[in-house]
Subunit: 396 residues, 2 copies
Amino acid sequence: MNIIPQPSTLATQVVDAIRSVVGSDSAVLHEPRFNGNEWKYLKECLDSTFVSSVGKFVGRFESDLADYTRVNHVVAVVNGTSALHIALQLAGVKTDDEVLIPAMTFVATANAVRYCGATPHFVDSEERTLGVDPQALREYLQDVTETRKGQCFNKTTGRVIRAIVPMHTFGHPVDIDGVLAVAQDFHLVLVEDAAESLGSTYQGSHMGTFGLVGALSFNGNKVITTGGGGAIITNDSVLAKHAKHLTTTAKVPHRWDYVHDRTGYNYRLPNINAALGCAQLELLPSFLEEKRRLYECYQKAFAKISQLLIFSEPKDCRSNYWLQTLMLDDFSADQKDAILAATNDAGLQTRPVWMLMHHLDPYLDCPKMELPVAESLSQRLINLPSSVHMEIEGVR
Amino acid sequence: MNIIPQPSTLATQVVDAIRSVVGSDSAVLHEPRFNGNEWKYLKECLDSTFVSSVGKFVGRFESDLADYTRVNHVVAVVNGTSALHIALQLAGVKTDDEVLIPAMTFVATANAVRYCGATPHFVDSEERTLGVDPQALREYLQDVTETRKGQCFNKTTGRVIRAIVPMHTFGHPVDIDGVLAVAQDFHLVLVEDAAESLGSTYQGSHMGTFGLVGALSFNGNKVITTGGGGAIITNDSVLAKHAKHLTTTAKVPHRWDYVHDRTGYNYRLPNINAALGCAQLELLPSFLEEKRRLYECYQKAFAKISQLLIFSEPKDCRSNYWLQTLMLDDFSADQKDAILAATNDAGLQTRPVWMLMHHLDPYLDCPKMELPVAESLSQRLINLPSSVHMEIEGVR
């Protein structure tokens, strides 16, 4: 009796391709690596007893980050969400404003808008960058907005659209020139959600430095981690001073008096988390090299599967390749769930892109443009195991 | 020629009395001590690579805290302010509500009310506890509120007064029986701001466990520290589950999908900070003993100065004596600034109580009762160096 071999499914091929890169062990989506001065600095911090809001590592982390991103000012905060919240406040976002953000983003972008009492207004993405599509956005804004007294008004809702917040998805820079032009033409403040893009550049300039202010994240799953942490980056010294003030309970400096001149926040990064950050930042260049090498391995391993591609950095950009990403073609989108199940069942952690913001209960009623590309991408993107310390088969 | 000796000023006497307790070195208000398993647990945490939102120390810290405070549920968060913010949300505080809080508190209590879109409504304190005066409050509420449909309405503003948030000042328990009775009679939810009172009890029960929900803080200046950190404590399992959900971006559990069912917060305590907390919590009983011994030393050292007293724990209470406190008599209140200057100039860090909330720019227009005791106390209280590791003269 002849046994006809089953043609291997796409899901099986994906499992095999990942295995050919990461080896036979299970692999998580992203875990940090501590192979530098982490323990030394943590110990130094503990021995100083300055583990909390005062201590030298916060200042050093801010200064090291400023050097790395070539920005004038960095204010370290407790996480990326708080960085975004304050960045929006610095941009002047207030109650009843609208803020343009991609429908395809992590929920923190939308939440931060809500914390300001404002309403997110969802924008489509482009396949080339996975970020805001400036051309489609321009056409949409021409249609639905009008300029009054130098402000952008949504003709339907009557509200001011105050700012635009592009997010650099999985570390890949958005078309920042295009977004900047839209921001300028429509009187929008540009705030960059650079939570995923530490180490990513466009024409040599670091993401997060193109707008008025940018937000970084150092959560445990990011390129470098401080446990939990984030940063506000800006070239504007007045904004930077205000950011520090807002994030440290808006306390007016005094030897002993406790005067606070506005409703501030307790968003300062503890010194012990900054100590970890200082050590991690020293390792960032080596992490970026390894992430790029991992991308190349995935490229090679998946080259023979015709129904998908491994996402590559956009033109003129250098991406940090934070999360490696597989993109299915239109005809294979219906295989997404099978691939997610097969890979996760095999101990290879993968995930789809976030559920689009306008499909989430808290944001169902928010204004939005047509979102065909984001809808399509959300059915076709899968993140692959992306840790820098994975033993790459080709390298072993 | 006879030289008549200058009578020593009150400020000089205070400097001398502090010196007789803390020795000749300079002394800060409060700095942490790490003489337990801090290094061990931090290293273990780092070696595990789980420094961020996932890891065993968060669960262990929550469980250890639950055991210590004898409460059913603990949710660890990023700081005391975020604990208060979520506690108020759990209490149902929403936009346009009013919340009763002491005028004499740290600004975080008022800020947390504002984060909910609500308005703080300021309440007087009593000299016996330094906290909310339930008798004065009862008389005030009888005057200015009325009950409609089981809710407490402010007759002047027309708004619902949703909750009351007593704060246990410097670790000393408020008259919690009195406050509980007011809360019950006026249909107010009781939320305890126990940020300063880890280790303090009333009739053997831990502060923060009397109301619907309580908030703790582990900032660097607190009895124990996690760098930055806080906790929500409650005996209600439904509320605890909701607190965990709200503080972890309201993500609905799923193997790979990113669904968030409401606007949540990124308030989880990183695992590395929890590791520090586990070690500190082991030391808490010894810290409390030393803080009580320091109080006794101050008592003795200041006994001969008639114009002031060292504040003692209220009746039926056991205080953590977080910050040692000197209370001037009415006739010596005008010496406060001279004492603050002399002590700080001598390298002995002291501070007055916080500027009262209704005097701060962001809260000038908030409703308030008459505040004679808080006004008087704010001119008469001075915190003294209170670290547990100070070399106590009497003990050396």
